[in-house]
C-alpha cells in the first residue's frame, strides 16, 4: 500500500505524475473507480490522492469524528507538503471537505473544483436536498448514482477479503462523518463567501443523489464560480466520463489567472 503521512496520521494514498500540485478528495464510495480519472490528471499534474481517515486502509485517530477534522487534516497536508497554489478537487463527500477547507483558508488553494459536491443545505427543513442513500432501495441508489450502473458497479463477489473490507470501511466512515446532520453542515452556507478561490462547479447531468439545480445554487452561493454539466454522467462524472472531467479541469485551471 502506498501511504501519505500527515503529521501522526497515516493514510492510504498515492502521489502520481509530475507538474503543479493537485489534491483530489474522493467521495464516500467507489474509491477504486477513480483510477482512470486520476491517471488522466497525472499527465498534467502531480496528483495527491489520500484515502480519508477511517476509509480503506487509512487510520482514523480516535478524536476524528467530524468533517471539521478532515478539513484541518488536509489543510495540514497542503502546508506540510508545500502544495502551493494547488488545484483542490473534491467529489461528493470530498467536495464537502474541500468547502470546509476553503471557508477556513484558501492560502494554498489556487483553484477549487467541486464535482457533485455535498455539504450545504439549501432547501427547507422538510425538503431533502441530498437523496437518503441509507433509506432508498439499493437498486434505486445505483440508478441515481450512475448513468450506467451496470458498467461501473463492481462485481463484489469477485473481490478479495481486503478489498471488500476496505469498501465496508469506506461506507462506515462516510456514515460516521455524515449521518447526522445528513451529509451537510447546517452552518456552512453562511460562510461560503469566504471561498474566494476561483471555482468550477461540475455536475453530472443525471445525478440523482444531488440534482444539478443544487449545483447551480451552490455555484451562485460562491463568490467566484462557474457551473458546467457533464453529459451522460450521474453522481460521479469523473468515474463515468474521466476524460471530459479532466479536460474541463484543465481548461478551467489554465484559463484562470492566479490572483
Amino acid at each position: 500500500m502506498q501511504r501519505i503521512d500527515v503529521g501522526k496520521v497515516t493514510l492510504e494514498g498515492s502521489v502520481t505524475g509530475e507538474g503543479p500540485p493537485l489534491l483530489f478528495l474522493h467521495g464516500g464510495d467507489y474509491f477504486q473507480q477513480n483510477r482512470a480519472f486520476l491517471d488522466k490528471l497525472s499527465e498534467r499534474w502531480r496528483v495527491v490522492t489520500p484515502r480519508h481517515p477511517g476509509f480503506g486502509a487509512s487510520d482514523r485517530p480516535e478524536g476524528f469524528r467530524s468533517i471539521h477534522d478532515l478539513a484541518y487534516l488536509y489543510l495540514d497536508l497542503l502546508e506540510q507538503q508545500r502544495l502551493d497554489d494547488a488545484v483542490l478537487v473534491g467529489s461528493s463527500f470530498g467536495g464537502w471537505i474541500a468547502l470546509e477547507m476553503c471557508v477556513r483558508s484558501i492560502e494554498r488553494v489556487g483553484r477549487l473544483v467541486l464535482i457533485d459536491s455535498l455539504g450545504v443545505k439549501f432547501g427547507t427543513r422538510e425538503e431533502r436536498d441530498i437523496a437518503d442513500i441509507y433509506a432508498l432501495p439499493a437498486d434505486e441508489v445505483l440508478r441515481r448514482t450512475f448513468s450506467d450502473p451496470q458498467r461501473w458497479v463492481p462485481d463484489y463477489g469477485q473481490l478479495g477479503d481486503a478489498e471488500v473490507t476496505a469498501i465496508a470501511r469506506d461506507r462506515e466512515a462516510t456514515a460516521l462523518y455524515g449521518w447526522r446532520p445528513y451529509m451537510h453542515n447546517p452552518g456552512l452556507r453562511q460562510w461560503l463567501h469566504r471561498v474566494r478561490a476561483p471555482a468550477l462547479v461540475l455536475w453530472g447531468e443525471n445525478d440523482g443523489i444531488v440534482r444539478p439545480d443544487y449545483g447551480e445554487r451552490l455555484c451562485r452561493a460562491l463568490p467566484d464560480a462557474r457551473f458546467a454539466t457533464i453529459r451522460r454522467a450521474g453522481h460521479y462524472p469523473q468515474i463515468e466520463r474521466p476524460e471530459e472531467v479532466a479536460d474541463a479541469i484543465e481548461g478551467f485551471a489554465r484559463a484562470e489567472v492566479k490572483r
Binding site: Y156, G157, W179
Partner: protein, 390 residues
C-alpha cells in the same frame, strides 16, 4: 428457574396490508387507535394476570412497526408497577444507544423501581439494525454511545450527594442529579440481550444478565459458554441467574391444542424479520469484516441464515412450522409433559440457565388462548421447573 411472560403487543390487524416491510416505512394510517386501545388493554390484562400466576413480566420496545406496538417499554411497566404487587418487572429493554437522553432513562427506571417497591429489572439494548432509521442515530458509533450511556445511567443512579459533571464523547451534562434514587441498592439488576459470544463476554465482564433471543439449539451453547468463561476469567460470581433464554411457548391440554397456540405465536417469528433490505445492515452497525462479507454475498442478507435447524440447515423464518421451530430450539410446544421434556433437553444441551423468557402471546393468539396458555403453564409446568437453574 424464573419465568417471564413476554409479548410484543403486536398490532396484527395491519398485517394483511403489509408485504415487503413490516417496519420503518409503513404508514400509521394502518393503525386504528380504537382497535389499538382494545389491544393495549388486553395485553396489559394478560400481564396483570401474571401477578396471580407467579409469572414475571417482560416488555420490550420497537419503533415504526406493526409487529410491536410497544414503542416505549417503560409505559406498560408504569401501569403494571401499580397494577401488580408481587412479580418482577423486566424491561428488555431500553435502546440507550438510540435514545438521546440517558438521564431521562435513569429517571424512568428509578421512578419505576420506587413505585413498584423494588421490582424493576433494567434492560439496556443496543437495538436491531432497523431501529437505527427511526431513531436517526449514527450506526457507526452506536456501540460506543451505548456504553457511554450505560456508564452514565449507572453513575447517575448511584450518586446520592448532589450533582456531578459529565462531559463525555456523546453526552454532556454539567449537573447530573437524578431524583428519585432507586429502591434497590445500589441499583436494579441490569440485563442486556446478546446474540453473539463477543457481546456475551462484554456483559460477563460487567456482571449483567444476558437475555438470548432467537439463537436456538445451534448458536446458544457458544454464547452461554463465552459468558461463563469470561465471568470466571474476571472473577465475577457465576450463577445460572446470569443467563436467560427466550422461547415461544404454546401449551395445551392436548398436544394439538398446544401446537395450535404455538403456531399462532410463531407469527411473531414469521413477521418480525420482514424489513426492507436497505435497513438490515446500516454502515458501521456490523464490523467492516462482516459487512465486507455481506457485500460479497450481495448485500442485504446480513441477518439471513440466523435461524437453523438442529443439524445446521437454514430455516426461512417466514415459513417456519411449529415442528421446525421446536427442532431449532426456538419453541416449546404441546402438553405440559411435552414442554417439560423439550425444555429439559434444551437446558441440558446449553449447560443450564436461570431465566426462561416465555413468549406466551404472539401474533394472533387470542386473549382467551393467551390466558389459557399462561394459566396452564403456571399450573402444570412452573412447579416442575422451579428447581432448574435455581
Amino acid at each position: 428457574m424464573k419465568v417471564w411472560h413476554f409479548s410484543e403487543m403486536a398490532y396484527h390487524p395491519a398485517w394483511p396490508e403489509l408485504r415487503d416491510s413490516y417496519r420503518v416505512v409503513i404508514p400509521s394510517r394502518l393503525f386504528d387507535p380504537k382497535v389499538g386501545a382494545d389491544l393495549y388493554h388486553r395485553y396489559l390484562d394478560e400481564w396483570a394476570l401474571c401477578d396471580e400466576l407467579g409469572i414475571n413480566i417482560m416488555t420490550n420496545e420497537h419503533h415504526a412497526t406493526a409487529t410491536c406496538a410497544d414503542s416505549v417499554c417503560t409505559i406498560p411497566m408504569a401501569i403494571l408497577a401499580r397494577e401488580t404487587k408481587k412479580v418482577r418487572l423486566l424491561a428488555l429493554g431500553m435502546p440507550i444507544g438510540n435514545r438521546n437522553d440517558p438521564i431521562r432513562v435513569a429517571e424512568e427506571y428509578s421512578m419505576l423501581d420506587v413505585i413498584s417497591r423494588g421490582r424493576i429489572e433494567m434492560g439496556f439494548v443496543k437495538g436491531v439494525p432497523f431501529e437505527i432509521s427511526p431513531a436517526n442515530t449514527n450506526p457507526a458509533d452506536l456501540v460506543e454511545r451505548f456504553w457511554e450511556a450505560h456508564d452514565l445511567i449507572l453513575k447517575a443512579m448511584t450518586s446520592h450527594d448532589g450533582p456531578f459533571n459529565w462531559e463525555g464523547t456523546h453526552f454532556h451534562y454539567r449537573s447530573v442529579n437524578v431524583w428519585p434514587r432507586p429502591w434497590q441498592q445500589p441499583y436494579p439488576p441490569v440485563w442486556m440481550p446478546v446474540g453473539s459470544p463477543g457481546s456475551a463476554m462484554e456483559a460477563a465482564e460487567r456482571g449483567m444478565t444476558i437475555g438470548v433471543l432467537n439463537t436456538g439449539w445451534v448458536r446458544t451453547p457458544a454464547i452461554f459458554e463465552a459468558y461463563r468463561k469470561k465471568a470466571a476469567e474476571v472473577g465475577r460470581p457465576m450463577t445460572p441467574q446470569r443467563l436467560a433464554y427466550m422461547a415461544l411457548i404454546g401449551v395445551g391440554n392436548t398436544r394439538e391444542e398446544g401446537e395450535r397456540r404455538a403456531d399462532q405465536i410463531l407469527d411473531y417469528s414469521r413477521t418480525s424479520g420482514i424489513v426492507a433490505p436497505q435497513f438490515m445492515n446500516p454502515p458501521g452497525y456490523a464490523s467492516a469484516a462482516q459487512s465486507g462479507q455481506a457485500l460479497r454475498m450481495s448485500g442485504g442478507g446480513f441477518r439471513a441464515g440466523r435461524i437453523q435447524s438442529r443439524d445446521g440447515r437454514p430455516i426461512d423464518p417466514r415459513r417456519m412450522t411449529v415442528a421446525e421451530a421446536i427442532d431449532a430450539g426456538l419453541c416449546f410446544a404441546g402438553t405440559p409433559d411435552d414442554i417439560f421434556g423439550q425444555l429439559r433437553a434444551f437446558y441440558d444441551h446449553v449447560g443450564g440457565f436461570g431465566h426462561l423468557l416465555m413468549m406466551g402471546q404472539g401474533g394472533l393468539l387470542s386473549h382467551e388462548d393467551t390466558v389459557a396458555n399462561l394459566t396452564l403453564f403456571s399450573e402444570e409446568v412452573l412447579p416442575r421447573i422451579g428447581d432448574l437453574g435455581a
